[in-house]
Amino acid sequence: MNHISRLMSLARSIGFAVVLLIVLLAINLVLNPARFQPGSWGALIGLAAPLVGAAIASTPVILAGRGGIDISVGPLMGFVNAMLIQVLFLKAGIASPLLLVPAALLIGALVGAANGFLATIARIQPIVATLGTYLILTGVTLTILPAPIGPAPGWLKALAGPWSALPLAAILLAWWLVRRLPYHDQLMAVGSDDRAAYTAGVDVTRVRFIAYVMTGVLGGCAGLMLTALIGSADPNIGPTYTLIAIAAVALGGVSLAGGRGGVAGAVVGAVDIFLLQSVLTTFNVSTFVLQIAYGAILVLAVMLTALQERLAMRGR
């Protein structure tokens, strides 16, 4: 019974996004069957991975509530990209995944901890604190990497091809483990009502700080997947992911007010946006029309999600 009710609440929170996913997938399959045949799944997942990763990374701080948001996720991905290729691989000659992967996660954790310090201990409004790190990371990335440079190590490029599902699976497994921890309950409690959580003895500051560190680590993973996809270092691509990732999270039914939704919703939202881009590019329209459709569908989708939630509330 408990499982069923939890499934129901899950369906309610990501309901519309899932319907959209199925519709978009069907349209994609009809329009462009070659692109979606099993043989090209690896490349396809690799193409979607950075956006999915960025959306997952944006989720923990949003769940933590009280305006929690991290707009530095995109620049962090770009920073990790630049550090890995320019500083570690090309300058220091380190190519081993055993060193590069921990390095990416460590950079992410450090940036996340810095954001966490600013937003929870210095208590600067999260959007301003992470706007600060956004500007710092973009500036530093452009300083160490003024122009695109390549290539990336071979194993890393393989992560955008046949092995593209591996990093995503690792992230989802890690999040599944987090969900088993008491920490997850505390995170959701803090996100829905931090004052009640505080009076119940939850260390609100610690819970939020850890959420920022998680976002940082996941952002490091997303940076890794971005590096795999572009197979080089480019200082300008990372920051473009920030707002789209947050849009994906919102589309996936994660409340930007905190405490509602989860990583599954963020993934569905990100895949929605990816499939939407894919549909629009198959029509071979100009990038201008693409942008119009893109913005319009984004607004329509969040409107429909809101309407559907309203109906669900009335039905109860």
Partner: protein, 323 residues
């Protein structure tokens, strides 16, 4: 510690703090860089600051109400390109301004209507609407906007211009009057009172007969309108149309509002504070470029300084203090 905490507890103290920082930065610039306080440099700074101040009016109103407007840079670009294009096609410039203004009001009203009536995060709505607007403009001009600004607008914002006896272009005294009007509206009119009430307690405001949807439509419409004004002024400043001219204003308007002491959760802030924030940002930018930093390093330093300033006087309360 408690004494220091009280020092910046009120909005007024935060505003004064921000003005002091701007004055200090200017002093530092004068000492470090020869010619920093020369009449031309000061005029240039005043013009740049005025443009940002116009673009930030809307963000101030929206933030006080508890929202955020990411469509400002897109509306700036829209007004910039449409005004140049239509004027270049031989339209009467007054008519062009009316059309651009009305369209901007509609765009902004749509932002407010959708966000409030369906309770959707304005962050997403304004971003989506902004992208649609930008896409439409690009489609219309095929990506290559043409046209130019009429001479009147150019001289209105020109750094070398003068306003009667004053050695600054008309833009600067006009902004002072506009700022006074905005402050007056916020402090002395029912609209201003309603705005603060809605921002500090969105649940209680309707009980005081404040119509939230109407307030959001009006305020977002005003935000888009002032963004359009900034877009037309920028057309005069740069001389030719450019769709991405507003992009730097996305984060700068938010930074100016926050450095000026507003809280993004709503209910707190003032336009005078935003002006102080605008001056701080302009001073930092000019100072760092004057010291010979690369644009990327300027950006990094700007981020650092914003965080530093806000941690000095813009800190939020601990959760234990909100119970």
């Amino acid at each position: 510690m408690p004494a220091r905490r009280n020092l910046f507890a009120t909005t007024k103290a935060r505003v004064i703090g921000a003005f002091c920082v701007a004055a200090f930065l200017h002093l530092a610039g004068t000492v470090l860089i020869p010619g920093y306080s020369s009449p031309f440099a000061v005029r240039a700074m005043l013009v740049l600051a005025s443009l940002l101040a116009v673009a930030s009016i809307g963000q101030t109103l929206v933030v006080i109400m508890g929202g955020i407007d990411l469509s400002i840079p897109f509306v700036i670009g829209f007004a910039n390109v449409v005004a140049a294009q239509l004027y270049g096609d031989g339209w009467n410039f007054f008519l062009v301004c009316v059309l651009v203004g009305v369209l901007a009001l509609i765009i902004g009203g749509l932002n407010g209507l959708i966000s409030r009536s369906l309770d959707i995060q304005p962050l997403i709505v304004t971003l989506g609407i902004g992208m649609v607007v930008q896409g439409l403009v690009l489609l219309w001009t095929a990506g290559f906007p043409s046209g130019s600004a009429p001479q009147a607008v150019s001289s209105f914002v020109s750094i070398g211009g003068s306003a009667g006896p004053l050695p600054v272009p008309w833009l600067v005294p006009s902004l002072v009057i506009l700022a006074a009007l905005v402050v007056l509206v916020l402090e002395r009119t029912p609209y201003g009172r309603r705005l603060y009430a809605l921002g500090s307690n969105p649940g209680a405001a309707p009980l005081a007969l404040i119509d939230p949807v109407r307030m959001w439509i009006i305020t977002y419409a005003a935000s888009a309108f002032f963004a359009a004004v900034a877009g037309v002024l920028l057309l005069g400043f740069t001389g030719s149309a450019y769709g991405d001219v507003g992009q730097p204003y996305l984060f700068q308007t938010i930074a100016a509002v926050v450095v000026g002491g507003a809280a993004l959760v709503g209910g707190r802030g003032s336009y005078l504070g935003t002006i102080a924030g605008v001056l701080v940002l302009t001073e930092i930018n000019t100072l760092l470029i004057g010291l010979g930093f690369q644009p990327s390093a300027v950006q990094a330093a700007l981020g650092f300084i914003i965080v530093l300033l806000v941690s000095l006087y813009g800190r939020e309360r601990h959760v234990s203090a909100t119970i």
